[in-house]
Amino acid sequence: MPLQPAGTIRVRFFARYAELVGRAEAAVAVPLPATVGDVVRSVREQLPGAGDIPERPLAAVNLRHARLDASVQDGDEVALLPPIAGG
Protein backbone atom coordinates (compact mmCIF):
# COMPACT_ATOMS: atom_id res chain seq x y z
CA MET A 1 0.00 0.00 0.00
CA PRO A 2 1.56 3.35 -1.00
CA LEU A 3 2.32 5.74 1.81
CA GLN A 4 0.29 8.92 1.90
CA PRO A 5 2.68 11.85 1.36
CA ALA A 6 3.19 14.07 4.38
CA GLY A 7 4.30 17.66 4.60
CA THR A 8 6.02 19.56 7.34
CA ILE A 9 4.53 22.98 8.01
CA ARG A 10 6.30 25.67 10.01
CA VAL A 11 3.57 27.10 12.22
CA ARG A 12 4.10 30.46 13.91
CA PHE A 13 2.23 31.84 16.90
CA PHE A 14 1.85 35.44 17.95
CA ALA A 15 0.62 37.54 20.86
CA ARG A 16 -2.02 35.70 22.92
CA TYR A 17 -1.72 32.49 20.90
CA ALA A 18 2.02 32.37 21.58
CA GLU A 19 1.25 32.72 25.29
CA LEU A 20 -1.32 29.90 25.12
CA VAL A 21 1.12 27.41 23.58
CA GLY A 22 4.19 28.80 25.34
CA ARG A 23 6.19 29.00 22.11
CA ALA A 24 6.60 31.12 19.00
CA GLU A 25 6.72 28.33 16.44
CA ALA A 26 6.38 24.60 15.85
CA ALA A 27 6.98 22.11 13.04
CA VAL A 28 3.72 20.28 12.34
CA ALA A 29 3.40 17.21 10.12
CA VAL A 30 0.21 16.89 8.07
CA PRO A 31 -0.89 14.34 5.44
CA LEU A 32 -1.01 15.93 1.98
CA PRO A 33 -2.99 17.35 0.32
CA ALA A 34 -3.86 19.65 3.23
CA THR A 35 -5.48 23.01 3.88
CA VAL A 36 -4.82 25.73 6.43
CA GLY A 37 -7.81 24.36 8.33
CA ASP A 38 -6.14 20.92 8.50
CA VAL A 39 -3.02 22.55 9.96
CA VAL A 40 -5.11 24.39 12.55
CA ARG A 41 -6.81 21.11 13.50
CA SER A 42 -3.47 19.32 13.90
CA VAL A 43 -2.08 22.17 15.99
CA ARG A 44 -5.12 22.23 18.28
CA GLU A 45 -4.96 18.46 18.76
CA GLN A 46 -1.21 18.01 19.13
CA LEU A 47 0.22 21.01 20.97
CA PRO A 48 -0.37 21.47 24.70
CA GLY A 49 -2.32 24.68 25.30
CA ALA A 50 -3.37 25.02 21.67
CA GLY A 51 -6.89 23.79 22.35
CA ASP A 52 -7.76 27.33 23.41
CA ILE A 53 -6.88 28.72 19.98
CA PRO A 54 -10.17 29.22 18.11
CA GLU A 55 -11.21 26.60 15.56
CA ARG A 56 -11.33 29.29 12.89
CA PRO A 57 -8.54 31.77 13.60
CA LEU A 58 -7.19 34.39 11.21
CA ALA A 59 -4.32 32.84 9.31
CA ALA A 60 -1.56 33.64 6.86
CA VAL A 61 0.43 31.42 4.51
CA ASN A 62 3.91 32.56 3.52
CA LEU A 63 3.28 36.13 4.77
CA ARG A 64 -0.10 36.63 3.02
CA HIS A 65 -3.57 36.47 4.55
CA ALA A 66 -5.18 33.12 3.69
CA ARG A 67 -8.55 31.48 4.07
CA LEU A 68 -8.87 28.26 6.03
CA ASP A 69 -9.68 26.35 2.82
CA ALA A 70 -6.45 27.50 1.13
CA SER A 71 -4.08 24.64 0.38
CA VAL A 72 -0.64 24.30 1.97
CA GLN A 73 2.51 22.63 0.64
CA ASP A 74 5.47 20.97 2.32
CA GLY A 75 7.72 23.69 3.76
CA ASP A 76 5.06 26.41 3.91
CA GLU A 77 4.92 28.83 6.81
CA VAL A 78 1.47 29.09 8.36
CA ALA A 79 0.87 31.83 10.92
CA LEU A 80 -2.08 31.82 13.31
CA LEU A 81 -3.07 35.42 13.97
CA PRO A 82 -5.06 36.64 16.96
CA PRO A 83 -7.52 39.47 16.23
CA ILE A 84 -5.49 42.28 14.67
CA ALA A 85 -5.15 45.40 16.81
CA GLY A 86 -2.57 47.62 15.12
CA GLY A 87 -2.41 51.34 14.66
Binding site: I84, G86, G87
Partner: protein, 146 residues
Protein backbone atom coordinates in the same frame (compact mmCIF):
# COMPACT_ATOMS: atom_id res chain seq x y z
CA UNK B 1 12.93 47.23 9.17
CA UNK B 2 11.50 49.80 6.80
CA UNK B 3 8.11 50.68 8.22
CA UNK B 4 8.63 49.39 11.75
CA UNK B 5 10.68 51.04 14.45
CA UNK B 6 11.35 50.57 18.15
CA UNK B 7 12.20 54.22 18.66
CA UNK B 8 10.07 57.34 18.93
CA UNK B 9 8.55 58.26 15.58
CA UNK B 10 10.04 61.31 13.91
CA UNK B 11 7.27 63.22 12.18
CA UNK B 12 9.80 65.57 10.62
CA UNK B 13 11.55 62.67 8.91
CA UNK B 14 8.24 61.44 7.48
CA UNK B 15 7.31 64.94 6.29
CA UNK B 16 10.67 65.17 4.57
CA UNK B 17 10.04 61.84 2.82
CA UNK B 18 6.86 63.10 1.12
CA UNK B 19 7.89 66.70 0.58
CA UNK B 20 7.49 67.79 -3.03
CA UNK B 21 6.81 71.13 -4.73
CA UNK B 22 4.15 69.34 -6.79
CA UNK B 23 2.10 68.52 -3.68
CA UNK B 24 -0.11 71.31 -2.38
CA UNK B 25 -1.67 69.40 0.52
CA UNK B 26 -0.22 67.20 3.25
CA UNK B 27 -2.33 65.29 5.74
CA UNK B 28 -0.86 63.82 8.94
CA UNK B 29 -2.43 61.11 11.08
CA UNK B 30 -0.93 60.25 14.45
CA UNK B 31 -2.23 57.35 16.49
CA UNK B 32 -1.34 57.68 20.17
CA UNK B 33 -1.60 55.37 23.17
CA UNK B 34 -4.80 56.27 25.00
CA UNK B 35 -5.72 56.17 28.66
CA UNK B 36 -9.26 57.52 28.43
CA UNK B 37 -12.55 56.86 30.25
CA UNK B 38 -12.95 53.55 28.36
CA UNK B 39 -9.60 52.30 29.60
CA UNK B 40 -8.60 51.37 33.12
CA UNK B 41 -5.41 53.14 34.17
CA UNK B 42 -3.43 52.21 31.08
CA UNK B 43 0.15 53.30 31.63
CA UNK B 44 1.49 51.94 28.36
CA UNK B 45 0.74 49.55 25.53
CA UNK B 46 3.15 46.86 24.43
CA UNK B 47 3.02 46.41 20.65
CA UNK B 48 4.17 43.21 18.98
CA UNK B 49 4.01 42.15 15.34
CA UNK B 50 4.53 39.48 12.72
CA UNK B 51 7.30 41.68 11.44
CA UNK B 52 8.03 40.11 8.05
CA UNK B 53 4.33 40.15 7.14
CA UNK B 54 3.83 43.70 8.43
CA UNK B 55 6.56 44.97 6.15
CA UNK B 56 4.93 43.20 3.19
CA UNK B 57 1.40 44.42 3.94
CA UNK B 58 2.51 48.01 4.55
CA UNK B 59 4.44 47.96 1.29
CA UNK B 60 1.32 46.80 -0.53
CA UNK B 61 -0.82 49.50 1.12
CA UNK B 62 1.67 52.17 0.04
CA UNK B 63 1.64 50.77 -3.51
CA UNK B 64 -2.17 50.68 -3.58
CA UNK B 65 -2.35 54.30 -2.46
CA UNK B 66 0.17 55.31 -5.12
CA UNK B 67 -2.02 53.67 -7.77
CA UNK B 68 -5.28 55.19 -6.49
CA UNK B 69 -4.00 58.73 -6.03
CA UNK B 70 -1.50 59.45 -8.82
CA UNK B 71 0.97 62.12 -7.88
CA UNK B 72 0.43 61.40 -4.20
CA UNK B 73 3.17 60.43 -1.75
CA UNK B 74 2.73 58.36 1.38
CA UNK B 75 5.13 57.73 4.27
CA UNK B 76 4.42 55.84 7.47
CA UNK B 77 5.96 54.26 10.55
CA UNK B 78 4.54 51.86 13.12
CA UNK B 79 6.33 51.70 16.45
CA UNK B 80 6.75 48.42 18.38
CA UNK B 81 7.64 47.68 21.99
CA UNK B 82 6.36 49.36 25.15
CA UNK B 83 4.90 52.78 24.30
CA UNK B 84 3.85 55.05 27.19
CA UNK B 85 0.36 56.62 27.18
CA UNK B 86 0.32 59.79 25.12
CA UNK B 87 3.11 58.79 22.74
CA UNK B 88 2.57 57.93 19.08
CA UNK B 89 2.36 54.30 17.98
CA UNK B 90 1.74 55.12 14.33
CA UNK B 91 2.26 58.05 12.02
CA UNK B 92 0.98 58.40 8.47
CA UNK B 93 1.84 61.31 6.21
CA UNK B 94 0.07 61.69 2.88
CA UNK B 95 0.92 64.42 0.41
CA UNK B 96 -0.96 65.02 -2.83
CA UNK B 97 -1.41 67.71 -5.47
CA UNK B 98 -4.70 68.74 -3.79
CA UNK B 99 -5.98 68.44 -0.22
CA UNK B 100 -8.92 66.10 -0.92
CA UNK B 101 -6.56 63.43 -2.24
CA UNK B 102 -4.24 63.86 0.73
CA UNK B 103 -7.09 63.35 3.21
CA UNK B 104 -8.43 60.37 1.27
CA UNK B 105 -5.04 58.65 0.96
CA UNK B 106 -4.28 59.16 4.66
CA UNK B 107 -7.68 57.76 5.66
CA UNK B 108 -7.26 54.82 3.29
CA UNK B 109 -3.89 53.94 4.80
CA UNK B 110 -5.00 53.91 8.44
CA UNK B 111 -8.22 51.98 7.73
CA UNK B 112 -6.35 49.32 5.72
CA UNK B 113 -3.71 49.07 8.44
CA UNK B 114 -6.40 48.50 11.07
CA UNK B 115 -7.93 45.78 8.89
CA UNK B 116 -4.91 43.95 7.49
CA UNK B 117 -1.63 44.53 9.30
CA UNK B 118 -0.73 41.86 11.90
CA UNK B 119 0.11 43.96 14.94
CA UNK B 120 -1.12 43.25 18.46
CA UNK B 121 -1.33 45.32 21.58
CA UNK B 122 -1.32 44.48 25.23
CA UNK B 123 -2.48 47.12 27.68
CA UNK B 124 -0.22 47.51 30.71
CA UNK B 125 -2.17 48.86 33.67
CA UNK B 126 -1.06 50.66 36.80
CA UNK B 127 -2.14 47.72 39.01
CA UNK B 128 0.32 45.46 37.18
CA UNK B 129 -2.30 43.59 35.15
CA UNK B 130 -2.01 43.04 31.41
CA UNK B 131 -4.83 42.84 28.86
CA UNK B 132 -4.67 41.83 25.21
CA UNK B 133 -6.77 44.23 23.17
CA UNK B 134 -9.29 42.53 20.91
CA UNK B 135 -11.12 45.10 18.76
CA UNK B 136 -13.55 42.39 17.64
CA UNK B 137 -14.72 41.47 21.12
CA UNK B 138 -13.97 41.68 24.80
CA UNK B 139 -10.43 41.99 26.14
CA UNK B 140 -8.85 38.89 27.62
CA UNK B 141 -7.55 39.60 31.10
CA UNK B 142 -4.47 38.10 32.62
CA UNK B 143 -3.67 38.37 36.34
CA UNK B 144 -0.66 40.46 37.27
CA UNK B 145 1.37 37.56 38.67
CA UNK B 146 1.39 35.36 35.52
Amino acid sequence: MVYLTRSSISLEALLAEVSSPECGGTCVFLGTVRNGPEEKDVTAIEYSAYQEMVEGELGRIVAEAAARWPGGRLALRHRLGVIPAGEASIAIVAAAPHRAQAFEACRYAIEEIKRRVPVWKKELRSDGSEVWVDPSGRPTSKPAHV
